[in-house]
């Protein structure tokens, strides 16, 4: 009996050790990314690196490694994706919870899950072959010089990423809305509110932190997206305010140039990844704070 107990204890410790592996993974990822990225930032100068507006690593005598354009690029495109994806996603979640007949839900839910499963390379390919030509033709059709575009633009990337974050926003918003007790809805209906009034003015505000969490997670997805973005965003490393022109994101910077980068250039790319990583960690932190609020 005692031996049996000891054996069980050994198994428990075995499972515990494996469980702590995910902690080890996060630590090792942090150590190696920061360990490689921070020296590069020091060499370039943290301030010059983060706020420098020219990215010209190929210049042999005087290369410049300013990633400010890419930081802006990531922010622009992520903001655009949120503007596109959040309203559509939240409204679709409302449809799924409060409007959708049961038999249709059985069809819609797997469709949303499938949307989450489609690889980003397919989204990118679709964006490249359908959306880019469409947007080019559409805006050039006006014949106005300010609207001239080759289709590879902030606008296209925002639209595509907006589609891509839909499943994230929908699924999280859906569970947030479902978590609101039924009597919120029933009570407001009993007080004479219409279905729309009850849903939009009582249930939705009650689900607000959950919906906010879905937005935060959507931001994380959008800012980290790589393959789809580089296929539609044009990837020019410069600052622009014209949403119909191209821009480069942090993720794109890493993927495009890593193939041929060496020495300080390569380290600068890793440091670019570190900046992205810090963004992601901050977003994750926000997500868990918002989620904890939902729990209470």
């Amino acid at each position: 009996m005692l031996r049996e107990k000891g054996k069980e204890r050994i198994y428990e410790i075995f499972f515990l050790l494996i469980a702590s592996l995910s902690i080890v993974c996060v630590l090792v990822i942090c150590v190696f990314l920061f360990g490689q990225g921070i020296p590069a930032m020091q060499k370039i100068g943290l301030f010059d690196f983060l706020t420098g507006t020219t990215w010209n690593p190929a210049n042999e005598s005087n290369p410049s490694f300013g990633i400010f354009p890419m930081i802006l690029g990531s922010i622009y495109i992520t903001a655009g994706a949120i503007i596109v994806g959040v309203p559509i996603g939240v409204l679709t979640a409302i449809f799924m919870t409060k409007y959708c007949p049961d038999h249709f839900y059985k069809f819609l839910k797997p469709v949303v899950d499938l949307m989450a499963g489609i690889p980003s390379i397919i989204y990118g390919f679709f964006g490249m072959t359908v959306m880019v030509p469409f947007i080019r033709d559409f805006f050039n059709g006006f014949g106005i010089k300010a609207l001239q575009t080759n289709g590879l633009s902030i606008f296209t990337a925002s639209l595509l990423l907006g589609f891509m974050i839909l499943p994230t926003v929908i699924n999280l918003s859906e569970s947030a809305i479902r978590a609101v007790p039924d009597f919120y809805y029933e009570g407001s209906r009993a007080l004479g509110a219409t279905h729309e009034k009850a849903v939009f003015q009582v249930v939705l505000p009650a689900a607000k932190s959950g919906v906010l969490a879905s937005v935060v997670l959507g931001i994380g997805r959008a800012i980290g997206e790589t393959m789809a973005v580089i296929m539609v965003a044009g990837n020019q490393a410069r600052i622009t305010t014209n949403i119909l022109s191209g821009i480069r994101t942090l993720t794109a910077n890493v993927v495009i140039e890593m193939a041929y980068a060496a020495d300080l250039h390569k380290e600068a790319l890793i440091a670019t990844g570190v900046v992205l990583f810090v963004f992601i960690l901050i977003i994750n932190l926000c997500f868990s704070i918002v989620k904890r609020k939902v729990g209470n």
């Binding site: 996603g89 449809f95 992601i280 997500f287």
Partner: protein, 282 residues
């Protein structure tokens, strides 16, 4: 007369839009890709250059080596992360006491892992597995990188599946004198099997669709990685990315996209059916 509420209109429009996006993407890719698949098959039959030739050349841009690489990658990476992920979930659900600080930390880290984008995994894999460990641009570097990437997904889905097993199963098993490990192996895991499998299949989908994490770990070479510890090789998604970025074989890129998409649809359907059986059993 009943007026159409604008909010109601918006809700329906949004749902319609979401469905339309999915249907359009899938429909378009299949519409463009399917005829090309047929062409490539008939080329193969007639012995001309085809996407389905066993060996890659720049004339046939064959996807067969990349499919084989993808399969190797799926088997090994899933093997690793299933063992680790399921064990982690068993610890979290069956052993850990609620409110345990350590469990909190594991939860937070596994959430962190699932929030890290694939490009960061790619960078880490390149720094750590390729350079630091010295595995080089090899399939195994890519395998280990994606194994970490899908770990949180497997932990999460196994956790859900284990939690769905009713407490009475455990109590009955203990009551009959079975020890904890035996209960887990004989009673709990089999009852949770559908849910665990659903998660594993979703993870397979992630591996198949992965590109950014593999470009700089397992690389883009076109041959079959016969010795996966040493030679690198592209997977199907990487192959597709290379086809689109080279830009010379667009028709073949459509066909590859269609095949990739079909596989993903199938995998999602399979996972859905399994997960459904899990809830039906209750």
């Amino acid at each position: 007369m009943k007026k159409l509420n604008p909010l109601k209109f918006l809700v329906y429009a949004a749902a319609f839009f979401t469905i339309a996006v999915v249907v359009y993407i899938i429909g378009y890719i299949l519409y463009k890709g399917a005829p090309q698949i047929v062409t490539e098959i008939s080329n193969y039959m007639q012995g001309e250059y085809s996407l389905f030739d066993y060996k890659y050349s720049s004339k046939n841009v064959s996807l067969v080596p990349s499919v084989i690489n993808t399969l190797i990658m799926i088997v090994i990476s899933l093997g690793i992360s299933t063992v680790l992920g399921v064990s982690t979930a068993i610890y979290l659900v069956e052993y850990a006491k609620t409110g345990n600080k350590f469990v909190e930390i594991i939860r937070i880290t596994s959430e962190t892992l699932s929030g890290i984008p694939s490009i960061i995994y790619g960078l880490f894999g390149m720094i750590f597995f390729v350079t630091y460990v010295g595995l080089g641009f090899s399939l195994i570097s890519g395998i280990l990188t994606v194994a970490i990437m899908i770990l949180p997904l497997i932990i999460r889905s196994t956790e859900e599946a284990l939690k769905a097993v009713p407490m009475s199963y455990r109590e009955a098993s203990f009551g009959l004198g079975a020890a904890k490990l035996r209960t887990i192996w004989v009673i709990i895991l089999p009852s949770a099997m559908n849910g665990v499998l659903a998660g594993i299949i979703l993870a397979i989908g992630r591996v198949i669709g992965e590109t950014a994490a593999l470009l700089y770990t397992s690389g883009t070479t076109t041959q079959v990685a016969t010795n996966f510890m040493e030679s690198g090789g592209r997977t199907l998604s990487v192959h597709m990315y290379m086809l689109t970025s080279e830009g010379t074989h667009f028709e073949q890129a459509y066909a590859t996209a269609a095949i990739l998409l079909l596989v993903v649809v199938l995998i999602n359907a399979l996972s859905y059916v399994l997960a459904k059986r899990l809830t039906k059993g209750r």
